[in-house]
């Protein structure tokens, strides 16, 4: 093609190229915007997306009352500042207290940060501990500062089996061949107040002819003496230590 003709064509085409460039950029940014909206819409129906479970507060503070449920992502940081993934505004919790990551086949691994400590199912962890040996599983209890949290993992996650913490409860034997004389007495059976004979399952109880109605207390019906029962063992944690309000805590309140 002659050079002057090519020059005219090329000069004309530059507007076409500029138009196409602008069109491509416009479509790219509108695509980004649409994708962002679609993702928000999709995640609205999947509130647990990206989460592996939740922490239930067993012992907290005024800002984090007991029973509060905190979603737990696959990896992140636990601390009291709002930038953390799991925020625990309780005394004794550092701004960034412990890093955590969920590892398939093991559980939630905790990595306490420098000079921090936490207790997982009665095992104390520091930044020097071999923390990978103590992953948190479903039902594990975590104590950070004065807060006590229990981990609930979603079903279907692959974790290492480990018996989680549960209070000791003596089993009641019911098999007829095992009589109480052969067994060791339960601690409460050593009580000086009362000795209860376990019920014999072979002994058939008489069926009452009619159901007894509960009667109100009166001088005709004095209250029946109830033998003392030992209280059922509960989760007992060290009492919360009074703590001075530090600069960090004040900063949290200000936020």
């Amino acid at each position: 093609m002659p050079e002057n003709v090519y020059e005219i064509v090329s000069l004309g085409m530059r507007y076409w190229f500029a138009f196409l460039g602008l069109l491509i950029v416009w479509r790219a940014f509108s695509w980004l915007r649409k994708d962002r909206r679609a993702k928000h819409r999709r995640l609205k129906h999947l509130p647990d997306a990206g989460m592996i479970g939740e922490m239930v507060v067993l012992q907290g503070s005024d800002e984090l009352p007991e029973g509060t449920v905190i979603p737990v992502p696959r990896a992140g940081v636990l601390g009291f500042v709002r930038t953390c993934d799991v925020v625990v505004p309780v005394d004794g919790v550092a701004a960034r207290h412990v890093d955590f990551v969920f590892q398939d086949g093991k559980g939630l691994l905790l990595f306490p940060l420098h000079k921090q400590r936490c207790i997982v199912d009665d095992t104390e962890l520091t930044h020097r501990s071999k923390t990978k040996k103590f992953p948190m599983c479903h039902g594990s209890r975590l104590q950070v500062g004065d807060a006590v949290l229990r981990l609930r993992l979603f079903a279907g996650l692959d974790t290492e089996y480990r018996p989680t913490y549960a209070p000791y409860q003596p089993e009641q034997s019911w098999w007829p061949e095992q009589y109480p004389e052969e067994n060791q007495p339960a601690p409460w059976q050593n009580s000086p107040y009362v000795y209860q004979q376990p019920a014999n399952p072979w002994q058939q109880e008489e069926q009452p002819f009619y159901e007894e109605q509960p009667q109100e207390e009166s001088w005709l019906n004095p209250p029946v003496y109830q033998p003392w029962q030992p209280p059922q063992q509960q989760d007992v944690f060290p009492p919360a230590q009074p703590r001075q309000q530090t600069r960090r805590r004040r900063r949290y309140h200000e936020e």
């Binding site: 085409m13 196409l20 479509r27 790219a28 999947l46 990206g50 930038t83």
Partner: protein, 420 residues
């Protein structure tokens, strides 16, 4: 026959118009270049480049849940390099087209590696000595070019190992940072920076340093140590300024290129003049005199783009990089594991920082350093490593999509169980 839902989805697919516009752009551009001298190569490229883009954008998503937007923009930028090189020096364009094909294959390999390998411990420990050895090779068998000794030659093939090592740098740093191990990645990064300083490849050293520091901040949020690292970097920059004569010269030229416009400042002055002569819409494709700019095909290709297509188109190219960075950051934020998040963020930062360093240098925003413009500049190693970075990003994006689909499936299963 499609039903109504499928019909709506088909019509609303935002990728259709974008990829069509990209293909139309290259078809018309190469057709215009064909009109210039009726060379069959231009006609072949007018068919081959849109076909390659169509293949890259529409075929790859059938293999895995790929991000079509990233694919479209990356393909556009790669093909832009081929187009501009063809308009200035066709010999470079043919080689670049071959590297573009190789880059596409490398990208697919990287996507599959990210998707398949779940435990990176052994590969990372293998990569560390190999990368350091590769980076040390130019010091032994390399040749000095433009003040830096960062190339070595295998036959007629020239290799820049720092472009390959940046991939392993990202993998190693992401792996160790996600495992909260401080020392291994620090030793590796310091070793890489030391070798780059010995090669006097300060542009690449700046990128390595910036990406490492930003990734450290992203993984730890430790402002104090990041600040100390930043101060150390500033000290090293001052030291580099005092030690290397060519750095002093570049800073002086950056401050006033017109003081020595026919010698040391010639390149920068020619680049600025090319951008200015292009105006808003450019001088026209195949016209102008882009070859007067020294190294127009690598470092100063942005000046050539602005001259041929105009400043408006140059801004569009910049916005495309912004879109890629935006998409990369979104992908990193949505990643489910810290390793994948850091990997995606590192790849995004690497592309973003490289683009900023070279375009900032060309438009005299910062002192010029010798790095290539990602995807566009001539250079096989650079193009393939940039495509590999996009491959890493795509791999993480496809894993995110898989996880989200799995969440949706579980949620639907849960709701069905609840209904029962």
């Amino acid at each position: 026959m499609r039903n109504d839902q499928q019909e709506r989805t088909f019509r609303r697919d935002p990728g259709k118009l974008l990829s069509s516009a990209v293909m139309l752009f290259y078809f018309s551009a190469f057709l215009l270049l064909w009109l210039k001298d009726f060379a069959w190569q231009a006609a072949a490229l007018a068919v081959a480049v849109p076909a390659m883009i169509w293949l890259g954008v529409n075929f790859l998503p059938h293999l895995f849940p790929a991000d079509k937007l990233l694919l479209s923009l990356t393909n556009f930028l790669c093909a832009l390099g081929v187009l501009v090189l063809y308009a200035t020096n066709p010999a470079y364009a043919y080689q670049q087209a071959v590297y573009y094909g190789v880059g596409l294959v490398a990208m697919v390999v990287c996507i599959y590696l990210v998707r398949i390998i779940r435990h990176w411990r052994i590969p990372v420990y293998l990569l560390m000595p190999v990368s350091l050895a590769l980076l040390a090779l130019p010091l032994i068998i390399g040749r000095e070019t433009n003040g830096a000794k960062n190339w070595f030659y295998v036959g007629s093939l020239s290799v820049q190992p720092s472009e390959i090592v940046k991939l392993s740098l990202l993998l190693i740093i992401s792996h160790f940072m996600s495992r909260r191990k401080f020392l291994p990645w620090l030793i590796f990064a310091v070793g890489c920076l030391g070798l780059l300083m010995l090669q006097k490849d300060l542009g690449t050293a700046l990128m390595y340093y910036g990406v490492t520091l930003m990734l450290y901040y992203a993984s730890s949020s430790n402002l104090l140590l990041t600040g100390i690292g930043l101060a150390g970097g500033a000290g090293a920059a001052v030291l580099g300024y005092k030690m290397f004569a060519h750095v002093k010269r570049r800073v002086a030229i950056w401050q006033n290129p017109w003081s020595d416009y026919d010698n040391a400042g010639y390149q920068l002055v020619q680049g600025l003049m090319a951008i200015a002569s292009g105006g808003l819409f450019g001088v026209g494709l195949g016209l102008g005199s882009p070859r007067t700019i020294p190294v127009y095909h690598t470092d100063f290709i942005f000046a050539v783009i602005c001259e041929q297509f105009g400043v408006i188109f140059g801004l569009c190219v910049l916005l495309m990089y912004v879109a890629i960075i935006w998409r990369g950051a979104t992908t990193a934020m949505a990643a489910r594991t810290s390793f994948h998040g850091l990997l995606a963020m590192g790849a995004t930062l690497m592309i973003g920082l490289q683009t900023f360093v070279i375009i900032g240098g060309v438009i005299k925003l910062i002192p010029l350093t010798g790095v290539t413009m990602p995807f566009v500049s001539y250079g096989g190693t650079s193009l393939v490593s940039s495509m590999c970075l996009i491959g890493l990003l795509q791999g993480v994006a496809s894993l995110n999509e898989d996880d989200l689909n799995e969440d949706t499936r579980l949620a639907m299963l849960g709701s069905e169980e609840g209904m029962r």
